[in-house]
């Protein structure tokens, strides 16, 4: 047993060689092709992920009319953008955006289930499913946000949105000060998944 987990010096090179040989043999036998891995990973790397949410938020920052439409009818507003098919799919169709504003900070949680707006936010972080986070965020959101390094002033209202099977929330953070000269695509890089969950704010680079 201990032999099995005794680490060799060249473990990286050895693992890499094993995967190379395995892929080559599966291709040779016609089970997969040399495109298979890239095709599967494309889904995570270019189709469904937080880059979609970043595009939605950046558009809302530069276009106040879009921002209003996004809050009023989130799926319809998202459909205006040139995003991959499936954005309004099984996970995306009940999406609702809530916008931070002076005096209001929004936080999204999910106390009951795994309802996470993946097409927009990507994969949830480790702590998101932690029962302690979920129950404490509902009960004492200010204390939890402070622990995330985001103390919220007393005169700012904190709204907590609990996702369900029916509605999956995401936050439109406020546009950071000092970003007036940035293009829409430059603004996209400032939008993090954490900011769209409300456990952080968007910051100028």
């Amino acid at each position: 047993m201990s032999e099995r987990f005794k680490y060799r010096e060249d473990r990286e090179a050895y693992s890499a060689a094993r995967v190379r040989a395995l892929e080559a043999l599966l291709i040779k036998k016609g089970i997969i092709t040399d495109r298979t891995v890239d095709t599967v990973l494309e889904f995570f790397e270019t189709k469904m992920g937080p880059f979609n949410g970043a595009k939605i938020v950046a558009r809302a920052w530069v276009d106040p009319a879009f921002r209003e439409r996004l809050i009023a009818d989130t799926p319809k507003a998202i459909a205006e953008l040139d995003l991959p098919d499936g954005m309004a799919g099984a996970e995306g169709e009940h999406m609702r955006a809530v916008a931070n504003a002076p005096g209001v900070h929004n936080l999204i949680i999910c106390t009951l289930c795994s309802c996470y707006p993946w097409p927009v936010l990507g994969l949830p972080p480790y702590w998101y499913k932690d029962p302690t986070f979920r129950s404490r965020a509902a009960r004492e959101p200010r204390a939890v946000l402070a622990e995330f390094g985001l103390p919220i002033a007393e005169d700012i209202e904190v709204k907590v949105w609990d996702s369900s099977a029916q509605i999956r929330w995401f936050v439109v953070p406020e546009r950071p000060a000092g970003t007036e000269g940035l293009s829409e695509s430059e603004l996209e890089t400032l939008v993090t998944p954490e900011a769209m969950m409300g456990v952080a704010v968007a910051k100028a680079a």
């Binding site: 693992s15 040989a21 089970i31 599967v40 990973l41 889904f43 799919g89 972080p125």
Partner: protein, 114 residues
């Protein structure tokens, strides 16, 4: 619209013992072989060569065995080493490759990595 297999497969792993490393909402690969291992396993399950849940059982068992063998020092932990072990086991169990083909892969890898 139906949920894509890729979505289902990874969502199933969230909050479980075999949930993959991730950062900023995306999967996090330390090197190309990790990415390739993940892609092969997901593609084979998507094509129906094995059930994703069966693969995950292998992976969870592999992780558990590592943890039992390394109870205190986790400094050498690499998720994708266990992932690759589970993938190799799955392709042999489902007869995609024979045990002797897998031995050849190990022999070849031993030579090329030294």
């Amino acid at each position: 619209m139906l949920t894509q297999f890729e979505h289902f497969a990874v969502t199933e792993m969230m909050g479980s013992a075999d949930s993959p490393p991730r950062a900023n909402g995306t999967l996090c690969f330390g090197s190309d072989w990790e990415r390739t291992s993940f892609g092969i396993a997901l593609a084979l399950a998507k094509e129906g060569y094995f059930e994703w849940d069966d693969f995950r059982d292998e992976l969870i068992a592999s992780i558990k065995a590592w943890e039992d063998a390394n109870p205190s020092d986790h400094s050498s932990w690499n998720y994708y080493e266990q992932f690759l072990t589970a993938l190799e086991s799955a392709v042999v169990k489902t007869n995609l490759l024979t045990a002797s083909e897998m031995r050849e892969i190990f022999d070849l890898s031993n030579q090329t990595s030294q």
